[in-house]
Amino acid sequence: MSLLSLVTGLGALGAAAAYFAAGPERFWANWLLWQLLLLSAGLGSLFLVALEHLTDARWSIPLRRTAERTAGLLAPASAAMLAGLFALPVLYPWAHPGAALMPHGAAKSAWLSAPFFSARVVLCSALWLLAWRLLAGGSLEQDKTKAPALSVLARRFAPFFMALFALSVTTAAFDWLSSLEPEWYSDILGVYFFAGIFLAGLASVTLLAVHLIGAGRLPGVRFDHVYNLGGFLFAFTVFWSYIAFAQYLLMWYAHLPEEVFWYQRRLEGPWRTAALALAVFHFLIPFFALIPRDAKGDLPRLRWVAILLLGAHFLDLYWLIFPVLGPDPLFSWPEVSFALFFIGAALLWIRRSLAQGADMPIGDPRLEEGLAFRL
């Protein structure tokens, strides 16, 4: 038994103990956070893969298997989300008994019902897993068959996936995050969540790619390829900040009670510190760290920026979810146990996938072209 499994096991024990010692509310809030973090890493990577097929990208072909592997986190994420349905009556006010009295209106009541919610979760997960099976599984199959038809299939499938992806991510954001406070309105939350997801996916891909390059498992991948990943990280750091501020600015200006209470809860008292930390760690540090040209292809820097961004995405989700538990941020052993369990499980899952197939899509007819890519 490796150290990693040991740590994961310890985390699982701690998380289970948290259910009884810290109460189901805190347990399920943690669970929700980590299921969404896993989803972000997996779905963000899958989006990158689909985007590469859609645009027929050349630079990314040598790195595509890496993204396909981190996209595999969708499987544990989907399992976690199915389990997360048990959080409904605990965390979500509209699922409480007697929820008809909630002030969110009839239109929302039709959308927010436990069976419909579960159906949406299952449907979205099925869509993502199907896309993963088609794109990543097809690519693995291509390793053996070398059939160009599989590349064509992926390219034809990508645009449909994009459309459904947009719908499903918005749905997930509204369902899992927004409906924690069902009286709240934000049209842009879906985009906000997408920005976080894609950034987390990019950070995971970068992290794994840097690791594999360091281990000498991606021969031929050079500055030019990595530079594009760094550029993506930089661009979407800015995108996330832009969207996050756009949401805040409009609500701050309009000052409507059904919108602004959400920010009041997250910007007053100790939560203000979390919001400021979010600005620093999710924007300022990665932005300035990635500004110089050489930084975008510098492996050690990319590694710490990717880790930082994953941490910042954790903080983002924490700041989105935990204020519903109370005015004071909760962070002690239950949160640490959950982190150990989920990070450990994710790493175990990734390690497992590292043993499957080649490290590059060796069946892709355009791999040579991809390796020859120069900026």
Binding site: L249, W252, L375
Partner: protein, 376 residues
């Protein structure tokens, strides 16, 4: 005039051929190399051994300067020069600054990048560049990759450069000559230019003048002036009876406008001032006095205002004995009804303001008729 060769240009079919030629010729080290390509060729920078451009640093500095400018500009306007409350937000609200700050940062950075690259670093436009006289200048912007050899130091042996270019695989070689120095400008040309400029100015000026004369200016966006506000004595579509002015709702009264029972001064002299003689009340009275009374009665209430010369009326001297002994109620009454040239202040002041005014007038009178005990 003798033609002096400035450079030798070789044309290549592909970027790859260009790169390998650069590599071979740089190794010889006799020339300084310059590549001319229709698009940025990856690797050419490294092959030519170009130094890192200072443009990035310039953009960073100017971008930061843009952010600072936008911030200070907005901060100064909003919280120093003209503080005004908008939408119930604080006057100095950083949130509202961010969009402009972002735009100005981008503006400064983009202009620095574009203009700095063209004007400052590449010194364009340069109409005397030897390349412009080349036969293949058009091809270089289309599908050919050019490499020019220029003398690194000492005299330039164009023949040797030509041979070297052919050796590394140039498909065509051309000697580019130093362009002739510009001919001196004739005084006649200068005169013509000056006359043309003056004519153009005149035409533009007269044209603008007559255009504005003949075609009256269109009103600027006037829809902000045309909001459906209520105007006294004017019809309004807002109320059912189509009038802009409405009688009060029966059985109600407006805030600060209690019904006034007195018709005579005798009745009014029996009214008691309902407000205490407190600092807050005096402050309010002072404000009302300075706004409504001081123009005519003077800031000291002695009937000698700054404007008395201008309009020739004789406002009452409120410091005279008649007013020293006048009851608060009668002062209130005068404010309600007006007196000779003085208009009524029934609608422009509130109840509280009128009573506060009476208190303040007492303070003014006492200030002009101070007694010994006031000095102790």
């Amino acid at each position: 005039m003798l033609k002096r060769p400035a450079a030798v240009l070789g044309l290549f079919e592909s970027p790859r051929a260009l790169l390998s030629a650069i590599e071979l010729l740089r190794a010889r080290g006799r020339w300084s190399l310059e590549a001319y390509t229709p698009y940025p060729v990856p690797g050419a920078e490294a092959a030519l051994g170009l130094k890192r451009s200072p443009l990035a640093a310039m953009v960073l500095i100017m971008g930061s300067l843009g952010a600072l400018t936008a911030y200070l500009f907005q901060w100064w306007m909003n919280s120093v020069d003209y503080p005004i409350v908008v939408g119930g937000k604080p006057v100095d609200a950083w949130q509202a600054y961010v969009p402009v700050l972002f735009e100005v940062t981008v503006l400064f950075a983009a202009f620095t990048a574009g203009l700095g690259m063209l004007l400052l670093l590449n010194r364009l436009p340069d109409f005397r560049h030897p390349l412009l006289s080349s036969k293949s200048a058009a091809a270089l912007t289309r599908d050919k990759f050019g490499l020019a050899l220029e003398p690194a130091e000492g005299p330039f042996d164009a023949g040797a450069a030509e041979a070297a270019l052919r050796e590394v695989g140039a498909e065509a070689v051309e000697v580019l000559n130093q362009p002739a120095p510009p001919a001196p400008v004739k005084p006649r040309t200068l005169l013509l230019l000056a006359a043309g400029g003056a004519l153009a100015c005149l035409a533009a000026g007269l044209g603008t003048y007559w255009t504005l004369k003949l075609f009256p200016a269109l009103p600027p966006m006037s829809h902000m002036l045309e909001h459906p506000k209520l105007v006294p004595q004017k019809p309004s579509a807002f109320f059912k009876d189509g009038r802009g002015m409405q009688a009060g709702v029966p059985g109600t009264m407006a805030r600060g406008r209690l019904p006034y029972p007195c018709k005579t001064e005798a009745c009014a002299s029996r009214l008691a001032n309902p407000l205490p003689r407190a600092a807050e009340v005096l402050r309010k009275g002072r404000k009302a006095f300075d706004t409504s009374c001081a123009v005519c009665h003077g800031a000291l209430a002695n009937g000698r205002p700054l404007l008395s010369e201008a309009y020739g009326a004789k406002p009452a001297d409120l410091q005279s004995s008649r007013f020293l002994s006048m009851e608060d109620g009668r002062i209130y009454h005068t404010l309600m009804t007006g007196k000779s040239a003085m208009p009524s202040f029934a609608s422009s002041l509130t109840d509280d303001e009128r009573w506060s005014l009476a208190h303040y007038l007492r303070a003014l009178q006492r200030a002009q008729h101070a007694e010994d005990e006031d000095l102790r």
